[in-house]
Amino acid sequence: MIATLDRVSYSYPAGMSPALRDVTLTLDEGRFAIVAGPSAGGKSTFLRLFNGLVPQFTGGRLSGRATVHGRDTARTPTRALALDAGMVFQDPEAQSIVEVVEDEIAFALEQRAVPRPDMRARIDGALRSLAIEHLRGRRLATLSGGERQRVAIAAVLAPGPRLLLLDEPTSQLDPEGAALITTAIARLHREQGLTTLVAEHRLDHLLPLADEAIRITGGAVASLPPRRFALEYEGAPAVVRLARRLALDPVPLTVAEARAGHAASLAHARVRPHPPPPTTGDELIRAEGLTLSYGSLPALRGVDLRLREGETLAILGPNGSGKSSLLRAIVGVARPQAGSLRFRGQPPPASTAERSAFAGLVPQEPALALYHPTVAAELATSCRSRPAAPATGEALARWGLTTLAERDPRDLSAGQQQRVAVAAMLAHEPPVWLLDEPTRGADPAIRAWLAERLRAHAAGGGGVILATHDRELAARIATRVLRLDGGRMEFDLPARDAFGSGGPLPTPAAQLVAGAILPEDVLP
């Protein structure tokens, strides 16, 4: 075995309740384990036990004993444990210090005075393991998120750890970037037998690789075989949820497995009748030929967009495709060099403050904007700025925040904080809601809450534009899908055509059952 936890409990310095409770677990050499559970449930704390960041960096109270290679992680300096347990964090930008890829990988080796020839060999090995030899001389600032995260993994691998810890390594990435990371991790495990622990919400590609699944809820830890975990976990991938509805046994973890093992059951599956498309009303927004560049960098190239009352438009596309720029152009934070924009047929106001009264934008990481000591004060600030906004008490009630009104936003859980941040940006109830990656790093509960809010707003005659990598959320609530690539519009289709079996972006359910888009479309 490579690591053990023996009756480990841990509380953060200011924690009211333990972040981990009485955890006993052994991890065998060469295992691949996924760590899943709700946001703020203890996943990151759990991973940090293995390299001593908990409690050495975080402080707090630890009881019980955690060991890696027989070394007590609470007593061995983290810097020394880094040789045994390498850790990769969520944000690729927050963990790099050097400008060039090769130097970034070399830095930890330089600190250990590894001789130059040996250093070169180790760097070559790490680059080869992650299939990023071609990035060797590139500046980190010019890499995509997926490439940067692979460089971060290579930098952790170079000193030769035997345990690899990854804390939501794909949460900041688009599907293509996430697939690159997943492939790289799978390859490392397969070819080097590296013991791997991955905490993640997006389990579609990871679950099939896992030898075991560690579920963490409220600090309680349970280790399960992957298929049993899949049957129980509410945030399981769409294929698993479809299999649960059809009672497929054994439960498949991938589309290919489902096709190979359950073709007959899938062929006879019945799909519930589709509800009629929602009635749409007047035109809310019309954009024609929007063209925008940042210096010499083109962001939008002649993009057209229309949104009517009752519609939810999902904008999909890889990182850098222009999704955020399109939303920023609508609210006036970015000024297009060409094209026209109309709000209800009229030219929009000039200022962002006035435009956002009609089209409110929730940007990425909206919690950054929170600065008041209470939730009520945050919403009051937003409501005070708009003459037509509801009273603070009413806004709190509409967003389900009345019970949190006097709490400090910084003391809330990640999910509650996300709700407050979204509410603060949209408290004035504008007719059009624009959201930029609102489910990045969010757990299933937050995604469900947000989907319900957006659906209710559209049903009430509002319009929603959602820029997202989360195809399942888009398939669940969108009426239309617009895909951008390189600033150009690739297609603008009804959601059922885009996500259906014959469409350009078929969902897992559509790939398995004709006529279905979501697992819930299939009758049990």
Binding site: A299, L370, A424
Partner: protein, 358 residues
């Protein structure tokens, strides 16, 4: 330009700015610094950093003059008179307002120009030098201090980007901005900066950075003893002239202790380098000469040899121009020919997804 060369330049700018009070020298220094700031290669983020710090410098320049206006009372050339408020003697007898003199304004402008030059010099340095390269410059004994500076250098552009994003977010909440809503920018930017610093430090720790060598007790003791020995030496030297020999002995012991402490840690803290920064001979010489000149300026100021200092309260005379005083300030323009003939780095970064406000 190399990291050492930039370090030499910024050291010279700081040394001249902090030791001169002569307006003509300061004007020359400011001109040189602005020209270097314009010519220096910079990414979008670095450009943003220079812009914000330059704005901060201008703000502090204005504040310095504002303080001079409020806190008046000296000088013969009264420009105008403000209502005067005198605090009671029991709480210090401070006065605010009264006669605003030309001397006070000139004094405030000199202080403001010094602050502006220091901020601009730091902004250019942080934009031109990678944090990693700066960390490599730090001697082993100062590794942790170097690490703290590195984190600061790495986080400055990100914090400035945060401020820009926060301005946008406040506009999206319908806020109009302005001084009264400054806390809506400052509070989240500071909180976000601290959070980012913690995450950065955590990531570095987890990757084994800054692994310190095991320091023997004797070396630690030498480090601990150095400071009290030097303090005692100074005390004896100035207050007991008859025992200066003891003060000199204590100073020597303190110096030996601190040198031994640094030498032993440096000896134990072994690192290697994958690549060595290429530095053309001319640049090598220029960087070191700049460092030496900075040291010379500081030593001259400490020894009281600073030429042509300027005191506006001594009659508000026309500042004397001293070639010896202006020469170091003029020398601060030395990077210009190197920058003019060097290749520039790309100005755009693919990862800087937050563009400038229109």
């Amino acid at each position: 330009m190399s990291t050492v060369a930039w370090a030499g330049w910024v050291a010279l700018v700081m040394a001249v700015a902090l030791t001169t009070t002569n307006p003509s020298s300061l004007a020359i220094l400011l001109s040189a610094t602005v020209l270097v700031a314009i010519a220096a290669p910079k990414t979008e983020r670095a450009g943003l950093g220079i812009r914000y710090l330059a704005l901060l410098g201008i703000g502090l320049f204005a504040l310095s003059i504002g303080v001079a206006v409020i806190n008046t009372g000296s000088g013969d050339h009264t420009l105008f008179t403000l209502p005067r408020l005198d605090a009671p003697e029991q709480i210090g007898g401070l006065s605010v307002g009264g006669a605003v003199t030309a001397e006070a304004l000139v004094g405030g402008a000199i202080r403001g120009a010094v602050i502006f030059a220091v901020l601009l010099g730091f902004a250019v340095f942080s934009g031109a030098v990678s944090p990693h390269a700066a960390l490599r410059l730090a001697p082993a004994v100062l590794f942790h201090s170097g690490l703290a500076v590195t984190i600061g250098l790495a986080l400055l552009p990100a914090t400035l980007t945060d401020i820009q994003r926060l301005r946008e977010m406040q506009a999206l909440r319908g806020r109009r901005g302005g001084v009264r809503e400054l806390h809506a920018l400052v509070v989240p930017a500071v909180m976000g900066g601290l959070d980012r610093a913690m995450r950065f430090a955590e990531a570095m720790e987890a990757r084994g950075y800054a692994a310190p060598p095991a320091i023997p007790a004797g070396t630690r003791l030498a480090g601990l003893a150095a400071a009290p020995l030097l303090v005692a030496a100074t005390w004896v030297w100035f207050y007991y002239p008859e025992a200066r020999w003891a003060g000199a002995a204590a100073a020597a012991a303190g110096a030996i202790a601190i040198v031994f402490w640094g030498w032993d840690i440096a000896r134990r803290h072994k690192t290697t380098r994958l690549t060595v920064e290429h530095e053309p001979p001319a640049l090598f010489v220029a960087g070191r000469v700049s460092l030496a000149l900075a040291a010379g300026v500081v030593v001259a100021a400490l020894a009281g040899w600073a030429p042509a200092g300027y005191n506006p309260f001594a009659g508000l005379a026309v500042p004397e121009f001293s070639a010896a005083g202006a020469a170091p300030a003029f020398a601060a323009a030395w990077p210009l020919p190197f920058l003019a003939f060097s290749e520039t780095r790309p100005r755009a970064e693919a990862s800087s997804s937050v563009p400038s406000l229109p």
